[in-house]
Symmetry: C2
Subunit: 370 residues, 2 copies
């Protein structure tokens, strides 16, 4: 037998390229034989975990032979209270990536289309493509989303528009006023996914005047809005995988039909509950990020390198020519950043904001190359 | 605005009923005001976690602000060595449910069909339906899969056949010889998913003469075979969500295109590695299960209740009439089992094999009702 399994796969899947995650530290150390490595490649929280989370994990681990609570009763109650909404509006995911996939699986299929911006988070095209939907990509404006172009790009068969605010990898954002104006133009039968993975950082970003919005405030006026958030970034739970969406209950009900019943593991549930209670952790993470953002921005300026102002915990800088050689040379010096050629940004690199010492090492290594 | 979002969803999703998981102990205790509850509802390992797993979690938790290793380098290496195969054959899932979903998302869509048996694991119809595929359900034979009927039921548009061995909830199984004969009849362009979630128990089941097969042995001869397994059962990691499939690398490559890059969390990876190294845990779990199976079987016999012989860590018994009242009365006595009306078995209940004392409590509670 020599069957062509690719030919048997759904059309969208055949054309799919898998997401390329950042290089794990261990893998790089293996490859390069380095002792010390600084990873500023995956927009992770550099603080390390909240103490309450560690305690919660220690408590929860004794029950790991039991399935997780599929209804996530306690976490949904905690989120509802914190965000002033009802548990029926929440859909939990194995990271917000899972929620984005669920949205695509419910509303996208062959014969439909999804709209998103150039340079937008790569999971949107992957999720849409996997479901066989057509991608409508609008040109970026100053590296960010051109919301007017996105509204104008909606076609008869469009089911979903993805808006990342702030966007990864560019760090660009749109204001609440701009979003509102955009949502007014979107037909009510087209879903708008507002991906706020970096919301908690944006709230306290350097440029808070520019006013990155809180999408939850728009939910009451726009029934076709789905806001997604995550515990992977400011809450520091990337390893555990927990994200969520907030929407009308009718939409959450549809997402939950496709959701695997135990998609969020028990330690993720316990940890998310614990960190929601740890206001100090969030505050400290924001402070570290704000200071680090200033440090890295100034360092880049001193090196004469331009960068895209960012409301996230990362920024993109120009490498004066092809980025890959700079990426490779940084690797040799034990600093991992993220090349973003796949985002049509071959002359930029994305660097996550780390602890002061990590930021120093990055700037120091970069200064040796420029 | 009053948009009908259900009408916007893909056809398969509109008709979908979400999976109903077993009732969490805490929820039942809340509802009934019970102090002590025995949960024999979700085929969980009653041993509690392996000590090595607890240690591994304690070590891994300090890094939970970092994303998991998307390539699962270490776990794939350990599994490959253990199972005598290559890492390229493995696809990891957030539980084997995730892998079953991936298979459906890659190979099923509107205009295709999937074959499975009456009384088979409910995730097959859900996964197929979510992708818009037509379900071809073959009648059971003595509560188990009728493999000949399944082979005969394959149609032109059939892409996937799901075989659970042993099956959940019935505990029935097919022998390697029967499977081999079946696979010979399946066209090479139809994928056969052999779900071996309970493999590690079946290997040492009471009826080992009847020879539940090891599907991995068939992989070399049947390129269209996908074997799925899980760490949720005999390995005791239900809370952490880790399962996998083994297939030709070409099939694994397709599944990995749709797989979310960080679908398996870091603690799950570390724990699976740790428990693979703990041969004693598996041995003890099998022993406990074997003895408990004997204990529960004898108890049911003494009560004059018939049951379906099972190679898993659970069994289905007849309730002499409608099962739901018996289920409710067991609940009142603090014993949670699983009603399986949704499996077209309204006169059976499924009970998981617990520790000797838990089995006693179940039999004792049941004897008060019969």
């Amino acid at each position: 037998m020599n069957c062509d399994f690719v030919a048997l796969a759904n059309a969208g899947v055949r054309a799919l390229q898998p997401y390329q995650p950042g290089k794990p530290i261990e893998e790089l150390q293996r490859e390069l034989g380095l002792d010390h490595v600084v990873k500023l490649a995956s927009n992770e929280n550099p603080l390390g975990p909240s103490k309450r989370v560690i305690e919660a994990c220690h408590r929860a681990v004794v029950d790991i032979t039991r399935y997780p609570d599929s209804s996530a009763y306690l976490l949904k109650a905690a989120l509802s209270e914190r965000l002033d909404l009802t548990p029926e509006q929440i859909t939990l995911g194995n990271g917000s990536n899972d929620v984005l996939d669920l949205i695509a699986r419910v509303f996208l299929s062959t014969g439909t289309s999804a709209v998103f911006s150039q340079h937008a988070f790569i999971v949107y095209p992957i999720a849409a493509q996997a479901c066989g939907a057509r991608a409508i990509v609008t040109p970026a404006q100053n590296w960010g989303h051109d919301l007017q172009a996105m509204a104008d790009a909606i076609e008869e068969d469009t089911r979903v528009v993805f808006v990342a605010n702030p966007n990864n990898p560019t760090g660009t954002s749109v204001s609440e006023k701009e979003l509102d104006h955009f949502l007014q133009q979107v037909p009510e039968n087209v879903l708008v996914v507002l991906d706020e993975a970096y919301f908690e950082y944006a709230q306290s970003g350097m440029q808070s005047d520019s006013g990155a919005s809180d999408g939850l405030g728009l939910l009451k006026r726009y029934q076709n809005l789905i806001v997604t958030r995550t515990f992977s970034k400011a809450y520091g739970l990337a390893a555990l995988r927990v994200g969520y969406s907030v929407s009308q209950p009718a939409i959450a009900d549809l997402l939950n039909r496709v959701r695997a019943p135990f998609n969020v593991n028990s330690l993720a549930l316990a940890s998310a509950e614990a960190v929601l209670d740890d206001e100090g952790y969030l505050t400290e993470g924001r402070r570290i990020n704000q200071e680090g953002m200033k440090q890295v921005s100034q360092g880049l300026q001193q090196l004469g390198l331009s960068f895209i102002p960012s409301l996230g915990n990362f920024l993109c800088f120009e490498t004066q020519g092809e980025a890959m050689p700079v990426y490779q040379q940084l690797l040799q010096r034990g600093v991992i950043v993220r090349p973003i050629g796949i985002y049509e940004m071959p002359n930029h690199l994305r660097v996550s904001i780390g602890l002061p010492k990590e930021n120093d090492l990055f700037i120091e290594a970069l200064s040796q190359l420029i």
